[in-house]
């Protein structure tokens, strides 16, 4: 450690946006107004799954203040997937629905009007002719033969490098089970959660004299939004100027790119600033939620509390579209074996499409659900073996130098010390040998079974 005095570490620094917040001077999206601003409201699907036979705008056009309607035909590159920027594909979510809607609340047509009231009225008068189709709401049902197929590639799952699910293979799971004294099974179902930020998702897109569009947005992912918007509008990135950074609560709910592309398109076509801000009802009904999972565990455990084999089959409900869930499932697969050194691991993590509202990022997405399930399972194992729940975790905790199932050597382990501190703070007594453990060696841990073979698969 340096002897240099620390100026900031160990001290509380006041928030740099605090003064602006307590005086109400922070500018959020709904605070932005322009005299010639138009308001955008969506025509949404009232059904979970339907074929679109026709759209009739004739009554909407009669509403005083109506400016124009937009359908998928107006969107230069209507199909996108947010994570195309990191190589995820294929494009599968429409900005505005084309032939089919896959969830209740899906965007079908955008109405732009001179007042918010007129936009609401006009959107309500749009007649959409829909033919209802069978819907599927359960991840395992969606994978069964005969389930309604939602994706043009003919299945209801995301494809990971040619595989129908994200796989992790380490050691030999079957031989691992033969070494076990107990088999402990469990099923865990973390549910979808709405982020419900106090400020709803929204943006204002404003055409500038130089031909650029300025987009004021409360996105959590400014460049992600800008790049996706440019791709969707088929314009060079430098045609767009995104202004953001102030987010009235996000929690992962504002990393999707939903409002900006269509608002920017409407601004380009009308020549006016356009505001598209979710109502509270929309925020609850149509914004992405946290991913729901169904997670099956089968663990092989020895009498002394070592986990010798862990097999997990997990189904993530992506809802109708990708959003950030294919990526979440990869993180989920990497973390579902927990921060534990398990010699034989077999993970199948499915990213499944259903007719539910799309799911996406939320606070540690993919990992939080994995930790929830893993730690409930650890408690279950502790009860089965008759061990203290702190001590069974200390026994199995990974140490520096251990190999993770996804073939990465642990170099920054602190789990043993964290559990010891937690036990101390909770006044939970630990056995002497558990107090003496550390993350750097296994001196106080009994020998553990080695992986059955160093088999390595992709």
């Amino acid at each position: 450690m340096s002897d240099q005095p620390l100026n900031t570490v160990g001290k509380s620094e006041l928030r740099r946006d605090g003064l602006s917040h307590v005086t109400g001077k922070t500018q959020y999206i709904d605070d932005i107004q322009f005299p010639d601003m138009l308001y955008l409201k969506m025509v949404r699907s009232p059904l979970h799954h339907a074929r679109i036979l026709g759209i009739d705008f004739s009554e909407a056009e009669k509403v005083p203040g109506f400016v124009r309607a937009f359908t998928y035909k107006d969107v230069p590159k209507n199909l996108y997937t947010i994570l195309c920027l990191i190589g995820v594909g294929p494009d599968e979510e429409p900005v505005l629905a084309e032939k089919e809607v896959l969830y209740k609340g899906e965007q079908i047509a955008a109405i732009v009007a001179q007042s918010e009231e007129a936009a609401i009225e006009a959107a309500a008068r749009v007649k959409v002719d829909l033919e209802e189709l069978p819907a599927v709401f359960d991840v395992e049902e969606a994978l069964k033969p005969g389930a309604p197929i939602l994706k043009p590639w003919g299945t209801n799952y995301f494809v990971y490098e040619g595989h129908p699910f994200r796989r992790v293979r380490y050691g030999n799971i079957e031989q691992g089970f033969t070494q076990a004294d107990y088999i402990v099974e469990g099923c865990y179902e973390p549910k979808p959660i709405e982020h419900a930020p106090l400020e709803t998702t929204g943006c204002v897109a404003k055409p500038e004299a130089n031909g650029r569009i300025t987009v004021y947005t409360n996105t959590q992912a400014l460049y992600f939004s800008m790049d996706n918007t440019a791709l969707i509008l088929n314009v060079p990135f430098n045609k767009l100027h995104f202004v953001g950074g102030t987010v009235g609560g996000g929690f992962g709910g504002k990393v999707d790119v939903i409002v900006e592309p269509i608002a920017a398109l409407a601004a380009m076509h009308t020549g006016h600033p356009v505001k598209y801000l979710y109502t509270r009802e929309e925020e609850f009904h149509v914004s992405s939620t946290r991913v729901a999972y169904r997670i099956y565990f089968k663990d092989g455990v020895s009498k002394d509390g070592h986990i010798v084999a862990r097999q997990v089959t997990s189904y993530a409900d992506s809802g109708a579209y990708n959003r950030h869930t294919p990526y979440a499932v990869t993180k989920h697969a990497a973390n579902i074996s927990g921060p534990y050194d398990i010699p034989n691991v077999h993970i199948d993590a499915h990213c499944v499409y259903t007719n539910r509202v799309p799911t996406s990022a939320m606070r540690g997405f993919g990992v939080t659900s994995a930790s929830f399930a893993t730690e409930l399972q650890m408690d279950k194992i502790a009860r089965k073996v008759g061990m203290d729940p702190f001590e069974i975790r200390l026994l199995n905790a990974y140490r520096n130098g251990d190999m993770r199932p996804y073939q990465k050597v642990v170099g920054d382990a602190t789990l043993v010390e964290v559990i010891q501190s937690a036990a101390d703070m909770a006044h939970h007594p630990l056995g002497e040998r558990f107090q003496a453990m550390n993350s750097w060696d296994r001196a106080n841990s009994p020998a553990r079974p080695e992986p059955v073979s160093a088999q390595k698969e992709s």
């Binding site: 917040h21 605070d31 106090l198 400020e199 509270r280």
Partner: protein, 164 residues
């Protein structure tokens, strides 16, 4: 229906605003008068962000037609912010990290001021009860309560817009 002019006292100043019938106080303040410190998280009276003080009583401005305040006294966050420095509640919110995303803060400050104006030394339970209609999704309720307690502890009983 024809628009009408509503006259009321806003932060100590006589104010006129021309509105369509049933325009809410929040919309009139924010969109007609440019007083945007008052926030709207739901526009349906559920989240408390739009809380302002009407004749000393906290009200949800997003569901109150502005015609209802004709001739009356409305106080918003702009009205308690001194020309220099901060109101003791603003100072305490800032110092206690009672603001995170900041969106609920104006409502939290106004409901807290309404409480302290009536009850300068509330118990923690009374503070929690007063704030119970105001949502903070960043879930920073403890620092908010601590900030109000700090002001109450140092309070001389006069929170009427002055600062020390």
């Amino acid at each position: 229906m024809a628009s009408k002019i509503v006259t009321f006292t806003l932060n100590g100043r006589e104010t006129e605003v021309m509105v369509k019938p049933l325009t809410t106080l929040a919309k009139a303040l924010r969109e007609k008068l440019g007083f945007t410190a008052t926030k709207c998280g739901c526009y349906e009276g559920n989240c408390g962000s739009c809380t302002v003080i009407l004749n000393g009583e906290p009200v949800l401005s997003c569901i109150l037609p502005v015609e209802e305040v004709e001739g009356q006294n409305v106080l918003t966050l702009e009205g308690i912010t001194p020309t220099e420095g901060l109101h003791p509640l603003q100072q305490a919110f800032h110092e206690n990290f009672a603001v995170q995303c900041g969106f609920c803060s104006p409502g939290m400050l106004m409901i807290s001021k309404a409480l302290l104006d009536k009850n300068p030394h509330p118990t923690k339970a009374e503070i929690a009860e007063a704030l119970s209609g105001n949502l903070c999704r960043c879930t920073g309720y403890d620092p908010i309560i601590a900030a109000v307690q700090q002001v109450a502890a140092g309070s001389n009983g006069n929170q009427g817009g002055s600062h020390e």
